[in-house]
């Protein structure tokens, strides 16, 4: 399966496991940057570890501390390896821009219909151009 999106923040080619949910996650308050765990009990991703994974979510919500948390997770080694969002919410974008975490937006076809957590994928991002996610 192949999906195309817009590269917001480009990076090296990535091969990693996917964690996916059609939800809005808060990186501040919903994510523990010292372990990589999602700690927000109101989401279906509660308990999931997103470190070194390709995280595919609808978008982010809540606090402006999100970018700080992404920074701490990068320092601690528990950051996601790439993030894919369907809605560009300003704080997710800022964190990825500031700390150079590959970010892709508006993936088509709809990833929530066919992609499941645990699938392995390859993600190629190109600055100011399209990104391609291939399920292996």
């Amino acid at each position: 399966m192949r999906f195309i999106g817009n590269t917001i923040v480009a990076g090296e080619a990535i091969k990693a496991e996917i964690v996916i949910a059609k939800e809005r996650i808060s990186f501040w308050g919903g994510f523990d940057p010292l372990t990589g765990l999602i700690v927000d009990k109101t989401t279906q991703l509660y308990g999931e570890n997103i470190s070194n994974k390709i995280l595919i979510i609808q978008s982010t919500r809540g606090s402006s501390g999100a970018s700080n948390m992404l920074y701490i997770s990068k320092l601690s080694g528990f950051a996601p390896t790439a993030i894919i969002i369907q809605d560009t919410e300003s704080l997710a974008v800022l964190g990825c821009v500031a700390y150079k975490i590959p970010l892709v937006a508006h993936l088509t076809p709809d990833p929530f219909l066919t992609i499941k957590t645990g699938m392995i994928a390859e993600l190629i991002t190109k600055e100011h151009d399209k990104a391609c996610l291939s399920i292996l």
Partner: protein, 412 residues
């Protein structure tokens, strides 16, 4: 995005590496968010300029050093705009009782000096409007703290996107911010009407309304209808809860907030048909949604999320009416340092401390990661929502009066 000649030069290093990086952040962020250009900004609320406290717990020394360097780097360039700051990660109050590390304290005080040298006012509050930072309608701002952004956009008609540490310091130093979202007229129109039928008799009810609105509107802008009146404390809870429940950068309250004269004028006709009604049953359900416990002992009562106003400090004092907080309860009242100073002069702090209330400034449990109890009762949706995830405590939302009564009893 179209950059002016001067902006391009800064991006390419004409004013040094730091400013080039700040320009890169603003342009890359702005472009991703659909901005066509950068505009001058007048008021900035920065965040993250604080000793890290318990936020880096367990991380090796070299990483803590790296993090501290990053924070110090934010105080290297003279700022171009009015700059106030978000909350600190530590409070300097009662350092011994709160186990404040001497090294943290020194680093924090050095930051206050460094910030002063570059023009940053470390006001340390999540509600800067309480300490005189009150933007005028249409003033372009770059504020962090989502609850404060919603407040200034909605209640004052100011124009700020939801910023983070990195974009805010970039804006403070460069005097620019990308024009997207609520900075533009088209980014301020309503998306979903919420007709209010419920009886809102306490700030926690306004929080419920905000939380409900935020959750239902996603990243759109809610239009709250059928409200006859609102006071600043109610507005504060409404905005904070909306920012917690969703991604909206602002809301409108028809007939009350400065841009919403009428329903017709703030939301397009085709969006009006999908309205929601906030009934008493929705109020109950929303209050209930964040409750994890409702009987037994309570050991932590929290008021002041967002930070308490002088009015709220007085209110707690009058509700206590000479009684003392139960010896097993940790009652924390969080507020900006400036408000605490005034409350001290008026004798409120001494009365409250005699009643065993801890009046604490600059910070809050969510930012400091200091959990001082197992069962928290609060009137704040923001605190209830985040503390359970960040700190792992049990939680219940009650009215302000109920919070005080529970604090006196020591149980539900």
């Amino acid at each position: 995005m179209r950059l002016a000649e001067g902006e391009k030069n800064i991006l390419h290093g004409s004013e040094g590496e730091n400013k080039a990086e700040y320009m890169r952040i603003l342009t890359q962020w702005g472009e991703a968010m659909g901005a066509e250009r950068l505009v001058p900004v007048e008021s900035v609320q920065v965040s993250g300029i604080s000793a890290p406290g318990k936020n880096l717990k367990g991380l090796p020394e070299h990483i803590v050093k790296q993090f501290r360097s990053k924070i110090e780097s934010f105080c290297m360039d003279r700022v171009k705009t009015n700059v106030c700051s978000h909350i600190a990660r530590i409070t300097l109050d009662h350092p011994i009782e709160r186990n404040l590390d001497l090294e943290e304290k020194n680093f924090h005080e050095q930051l206050i000096n460094k910030a002063r040298n570059v023009g940053i006012k470390l006001t340390f509050s999540c509600a800067p409007y309480l300490v005189g930072e009150i933007p005028i309608k249409n003033q372009i701002c770059a504020w962090t703290e989502s609850s404060a952004v919603v407040y200034i956009n909605s209640i004052f008609g100011a124009r700020s996107a939801r910023n983070g540490t990195e974009s805010a310091i970039s804006s403070a130093v460069l005097g620019l911010t990308p024009a997207f979202g609520p900075i533009l007229d088209k980014g301020r129109k309503g998306d979903l009407v919420i007709n209010v039928e419920a009886n809102l008799t306490d700030v926690s009810h306004w929080g419920a309304l905000g939380y409900y609105a935020g959750k239902n509107v996603g990243i759109g802008i809610p239009v709250i209808n059928d409200i006859k009146r609102m006071n600043p404390e109610e507005a504060k809870q409404l905005c904070a809860a909306a920012a917690t429940g969703g991604g909206a950068p602002m809301l409108h309250v028809v007939g009350i907030t400065p841009e919403a004269f009428s329903l017709d004028q703030i939301i397009e006709r085709n969006k009006r048909s999908n309205y929601l009604t906030f009934k008493n049953s929705d109020l109950e359900e929303t209050l209930h949604s964040l409750r994890t416990v409702d009987e037994g002992p309570v050991d932590w009562v929290l008021i002041g999320c967002p930070h308490a106003s002088l009015t709220e400090v007085a209110e707690i004092m009058y509700l206590l009416d000479g009684k003392k907080v139960n010896e097993h309860v940790n009652f924390e009242l969080w507020l900006p340092y400036a408000i605490k100073a005034m409350a001290e002069r008026l004798g409120y702090v001494s009365v409250l401390e005699q009643a065993n209330v801890k009046v604490l400034s600059d910070s809050c449990p969510l930012t400091s990661r200091e959990r001082t109890g197992n069962v928290m009762v609060t009137n704040s949706f923001k605190q209830a929502h985040y503390s359970q995830a960040l700190l792992g405590n049990q939680v219940n939302i009650k009215t302000t009066t109920e919070c005080v009564n529970i604090a006196i009893r020591g149980c539900f």
